[in-house]
């Protein structure tokens, strides 16, 4: 499942000054592997729960399509808190700062 337009995760990304590589649908939907490649994301941002469901950080890069991304060469993956990214609340600012910090470490 990937966050498209009009999702809280996409809104948080734009607040953090990040362009969401995926657009063209609203809400959270399963993504076609080819669209993932076509979007050419520099960094992959996943929730902690999503990484667990995929089978760990190593297994994330085994998901179909992931190995062809620019993000894959240096395995640029950022883990974010599930709850902080599914809505807005008192911890939103903290999550944004953390995301920005993680991103600057990677790039």
């Amino acid at each position: 499942m990937v966050a498209g337009d009009n999702s809280s995760a996409a809104e948080l990304l734009s607040l953090a000054g990040i362009t969401n590589a995926i657009s063209g649908f609203s809400g959270y939907k399963p993504l076609t592997p080819e669209s993932l490649v076509a979007a050419q994301p520099q960094v992959v941002i996943m929730t902690a729960g999503g990484i667990v469901a995929a089978g760990g950080k190593q297994a994330v890069w085994k998901i179909n399509g992931m190995q062809h991304l620019p993000a894959a060469q240096q395995q640029r993956l950022i883990q974010v808190d599930d709850l902080a990214f599914l809505g807005f609340g008192p911890r939103t600012l903290e999550a944004l700062l953390q995301l920005r910090h993680d991103l600057e470490l990677l790039l």
Binding site: G4, G55, A59, N64
Partner: protein, 344 residues
């Protein structure tokens, strides 16, 4: 000139069977060509011909799109072929591969796998393959259980049918119990798996799956003549010397191999197994010698086309392909049905 044509036609025994199978084969090739071109990225045969395919595009095309086409062919053929064989075996138009518990057993096993932390025992990067393995083993265990329970030395198929219904209901209830105790994340994972899709499979898993499924397909195809004899009824068929127990074993084993592997790779895809054989029976008649290979081709055609739509209609998002097979095939099937009734 006219003489030449008729002479040529006489030379080649152009039977109804050959005609139908050739037509379906050509349709499958066309479907594959369309599907090889369709996708989120502009890659395909056209780009190869016009020389616009670069190394990166080629890599993506061969690593993502081609395995997906091959998977659609294998899964579509497995579901429709085993559906046709099951309907022939039970002489029941409502029989489908699901009756042997292949799908329900696999979902139960995957549900257990997701809800209980068994995956911690596996190496981290094995998780994905392990889930496919679990689905496959789950479907085989259920299939075996139903086959044992439904065993009847008289060669009556009714017990197998009833055992299948009972075990399927049980597995469904156990699955419901699992979703009751699952947390949010697990629940989403389970329901996504249940919808079915051809997107998650890479070349390696496809090869393993195809290696398991193809002996099953061959086995199912090999019983086409016996199935025709069986249509006389159990007693008459046995009087002709047909070993109905052996036939039953073959169909169950073939279905377990072929459909078990496809459920493990692609999740649960409805409609194909039940409707494709019916559709082709209405067009081609009930003989299994034609119906079985035609069903395999027909199932492959429908799934290849449905999957092409699944990944392009809502791109970049993906529609679960099981919804599309039903939406594409359902109305056509109903139209055929109403036409057939008006005629009869």
């Amino acid at each position: 000139m006219k003489q030449l044509v008729s002479w040529k036609l006489k030379l080649i025994p152009w039977s109804k069977k050959n005609k139908a199978l050739t037509l379906l084969g050509v349709l499958l090739l066309v479907a594959l060509l369309i599907s090889a071109q369709a996708g989120a990225m502009a890659l395909g045969p056209w780009q190869i011909i016009t020389g616009q395919m670069d190394a990166y595009g080629w890599q993506v095309w061969t690593a993502i799109r081609l395995p997906r086409l091959a998977l659609a062919v294998v899964v579509g053929a497995a579901l429709a072929l085993s559906g046709a064989a099951m309907q022939g075996l039970f002489r029941n138009p409502l029989a489908d591969p699901g009756l042997l518990g292949v799908a329900s057993g696999a979902s139960l096993a995957v549900g257990l796998w997701i809800v209980f932390p068994l995956s911690a025992w596996f190496p981290e990067n094995w998780n994905w393959q392990a889930q496919m393995l679990v689905a496959c083993v789950g479907s085989w265990l259920t299939c075996w259980l139903i086959f044992r329970l439904g065993k009847d030395t008289q060669g009556n198929m009714l017990w197998l049918l009833l055992a299948g219904l009972a075990i399927n209901t049980l597995a469904g209830a156990a699955g419901g119990l699992l979703s009751y105790i699952a947390d949010d994340q697990q629940l989403r994972q389970m329901s996504l798996w249940g919808m079915g899709g051809l997107g998650g499979v890479r070349g390696i898993e496809l090869l393993v799956g195809a290696a398991i499924a193809s002996p099953g397909l061959v086995l199912l195809y090999s019983v086409r003549k016996q199935l025709d004899v069986l249509q006389l009824g159990d007693v008459s068929a046995q009087a002709t010397g047909l070993d109905t127990n052996k036939l039953r074993q073959k169909v169950v084993l073939g279905t377990a191999l072929a459909v078990g592997a496809s459920v493990a790779l692609a999740g649960i895809i409805g409609f194909l197994g039940l409707m494709i054989p019916h559709l082709l029976r209405m067009i081609l008649g009930p003989g299994h010698r034609l119906l079985l290979p035609a069903s395999a081709l027909g199932g492959a055609i429908l799934l290849v086309l449905a999957d092409a739509l699944a990944r392009t209609l809502a791109a970049p998002a993906e529609i679960p392909v099981g919804l599309l097979t039903s939406l594409l095939g359902g109305p056509y099937f109903l139209w055929m049905l109403s036409r057939g009734r008006g005629r009869g």
